[in-house]
Amino acid sequence: MARARKIASPGPMTSSKGELLKFYRDMLLVRRFEERAGQLYGMGLIGGFCHLYIGQEAIAVGMQSIQLAGDQIITGYRDHGHMLAAGMDPREVMAELTGRAGGSSRGKGGSMHMFSTEAGFFGGHGIVGAQVSLGTGLALANQYKANGKVAFVYFGDGAANQGQVYESFNMASLWKLPVVYVVENNQYAMGTSIERSSSETHLYRRGVSFNIPGEEVDGMDVEAVREAGARAAAFARDGNGPYILEMKTYRYRGHSMSDPAKYRTKEEVDKVKKTRDPIDHLREVLETKGWADEAALKAFDAEVKAIVADAAEFARTSPEPDPAELYTDVYLEAAP
């Protein structure tokens, strides 16, 4: 029973003006935040790896809009956009990037390892593919507790080749676990294009042999993301088991900050930026509908700019963690 289908058929879901404006604002926040993070990295305030989400904003923002309170999210190291979309405080996220006491992990995790129990955000994982089994485990807990929650598990086109992904698919389908797998197919895993790494490049079909339905979705269109997300979430929440959404998207920046940029042409990158940009696309939608209220959009620009500037200032001035923090959080006290 292979139910994989290409492009999601347009459904009845329509978004209100207010919703679309909010998507615009949220995507803009992610983009401006990431640009600033890139700048702080260049200044040496952020160290190590820093994987920016620029270009992929519609996925985190669109999916977030259909989640219910208590649903969980888990992803890899390209996580800043997901955290902002999940409602985490930009200050906390930026201060984690600079490794300061005000960061969401108090400076101990860094860019790739952030979490928020409040936002249902279970990380932020550095090992490619590991989040897929972990996320399936979150779904197992939901089923076990019969709490009606769904786990949203994000991973990349490169991660889609890890063995544990398929071990998880099998168990999730076998036990009908409430999980939505969201593959963020930005076409590259570091310098390897999907054609060079995958025998089946249509990742929405990867669930076929496990009887998991899948759809290909335009991940640069926030409305399409939201629509497909709603369908997948309903399927999983109703006890039918897992669902795969392959989001076709693109990363504008290098893999991390240091990237030889030789595996794809500048023309290819520019073309996506010009023709498929998720923020520009939504702006056009708003204009067509006559909802592109200049004043409102300008206000978002100003608001987002202020939030990001404030987050950067906080991240720069928040103190380094207390040296005693080195030894905390290794173990919990056992209950008496």
């Binding site: 890139g38 700048q39 040496g44 790739m112 390897t192 963690p321 030894y327």
Partner: protein, 468 residues
């Protein structure tokens, strides 16, 4: 009000780069996200985007300028309210670099030019001559080479010598290696012998072992050893044990290699030293070189070895230059330690990047009249304990240095052997210098506190010498 645009860093270790191209001219209006310039290093290229909107007021560094230092003012933007953090004097840059504990000023002794980004002082002046491998012929010429290029040459030489040798791993071919260790191998040997794999460590490590069982000689590169935890079952259960389980019938001549240990600020999941993990396992050989000569000679030996070899490199040493003997077929035997500095008062054992720290510590101690003997272990399994015991019998004191956790570690093993075989020769309880017993934190200050340092080695030596 003008907004300063500074030369950005592409990586924590980048100090300068080329300003390849300006995409804007004075007077142009830019908005946040617009590409304004392209910068390059030997490893990477990056587009610099505007973070604020405004009009380009000045371009201060011409396109094509090489060697532009990170944080140099490269342009100014006339714009709205700037919230750019001030670039200099924040201490953060220092903290980042301090965390790698790898960049003190080079010692200003004559004839020892500063080299690369790590300690490269192979021998200190006067008292402690370079202790060369015994069998280098008289008059051998040395060339300067980075550890990265030495590893590359070792693979290239062995691939030329034996058609059964091939390289497989993530980004090893077209990308030329995530850390550029396999540079130009694809060009020379082609796609049959330099194979890009999907991200699927458990799978390709298993394929490698299977190919080795069928008589090939794979070099399996892990992008870093952290990711080999996905594959550790195939390394131990399949590669290490099959010879034994098959009563000697099935062999696996295979090298697993890649960078091990802590890089800089990459957090707990990407900063782990696996020395003691693999050195625990019978059936594996485990090699961890420090300088470029050993990297080359030992990698060649590892490729030729009929057994599975775990070859632990260090990212922080890849760019460091050392002297490499220019002889045909320079092979360093597995299983032999090297005395890097002779001394009489205390023995310090170290491997990989810790050798540089131990040598630096020995210099500091020499200034106080303590002569330390520094032993570079080079191979962890089989461990050359004869060299260690002979040294301790002479110095009567021992400090072990390793980057990983101390508990059940390399130092623990060395000390156990010394206590078993030379207990009566010890004048003080031995001491271990190692990583603090916590996952490696990201914050610059905590990371620096967590890792072993020159000072921690110096303090341990003082303690075993009862000098305050």
């Amino acid at each position: 009000m003008s907004i300063d645009i500074l030369m950005p860093a592409l990586s924590p270790t980048m100090e300068e780069g080329t300003l390849a191209k300006w995409h804007v001219a004075v007077g142009d209006t830019v908005k946040a996200g617009d590409v304004i310039a392209e910068i390059e290093t030997d490893k990477a290229t990056m587009e610099v985007e505007a973070v604020d909107e405004g009009v380009i007021e000045a371009l201060l560094v011409p396109a094509g300028t090489e060697g532009v230092k990170v944080n140099t003012l490269i342009a100014q933007l006339a714009g709205g309210a700037s919230s750019n953090p001030p670039p200099k004097g924040e201490g953060d840059r220092e903290a980042v670099e301090g965390a790698s504990a790898a960049r003190p000023p080079s010692p200003a002794s004559p004839g020892l030019p500063p080299k690369g980004e790590d300690f490269t002082v192979v021998a200190a002046e006067g008292a402690s001559p370079v202790l060369a491998d015994p069998d280098l012929p008289e008059g051998t010429v040395f060339i300067k080479q980075t550890v990265r290029d030495a590893l590359r040459d070792a693979m290239a030489e062995e691939m030329r010598r034996d058609d059964g040798v091939f390289l497989m791993g993530e980004e090893v071919a077209q990308y030329q290696g995530a850390y550029k260790v396999s540079r130009e191998l694809l060009q020379e040997f082609g796609a049959r012998r330099v194979i890009d794999t999907p991200i699927t460590e458990h799978g390709f490590a298993g394929l490698g072992v299977g190919a080795a069982m069928a008589g090939l000689k794979p070099i399996v590169e892990f992008m870093t050893w952290n990711f080999a935890m996905q594959a550790i079952d195939q390394i131990i259960n399949s590669a290490a044990k099959t010879l034994y389980m098959s009563g000697g019938q099935i062999r696996a001549s295979i090298v697993f290699r890649g960078p091990n240990g802590a890089a800089s600020r990459v957090g707990a999941q990407h900063s782990q030293d696996y020395s003691s993990w693999y050195a625990h396992v019978p059936g594996l050989k485990v090699v961890a070189p420090y300088d470029a000569a050993d990297a080359k000679g030992l990698l060649k030996a590892a490729i030729r070895d009929p057994n599975p070899v775990v070859f632990l490199e260090h990212e922080m040493l890849y760019g460091t230059e050392f002297d490499v003997p220019q002889i045909d077929d320079f092979v360093v035997p597995i299983g032999k330690a090297k005395i890097r500095r002779a001394g009489t008062h205390v023995t310090i054992t170290a491997h990989s990047r810790m050798v540089g720290l131990a040598l630096k510590a020995a210099e500091v101690l020499a200034a106080d009249g303590i002569e330390a003997e520094v032993i570079d272990l080079r191979t962890l399994r089989p461990l050359d304990h004869a060299t260690i015991l002979a040294s301790v019998r002479k110095t009567n004191r021992l400090v072990t240095a390793e980057e990983g956790w101390g508990s059940m570690g390399v130092g623990a093993e060395i000390i156990a052997r010394v206590v078993e075989h030379a207990f009566d020769d010890l004048d003080a309880p031995p001491m271990r210098v190692c990583q603090e017993d916590v996952p490696l934190p990201y914050a610059a200050n905590l990371e620096a506190l967590s890792l072993p340092t020159v000072d921690k080695i110096v303090q341990a030596v003082r303690a075993v010498c009862y000098v305050s």
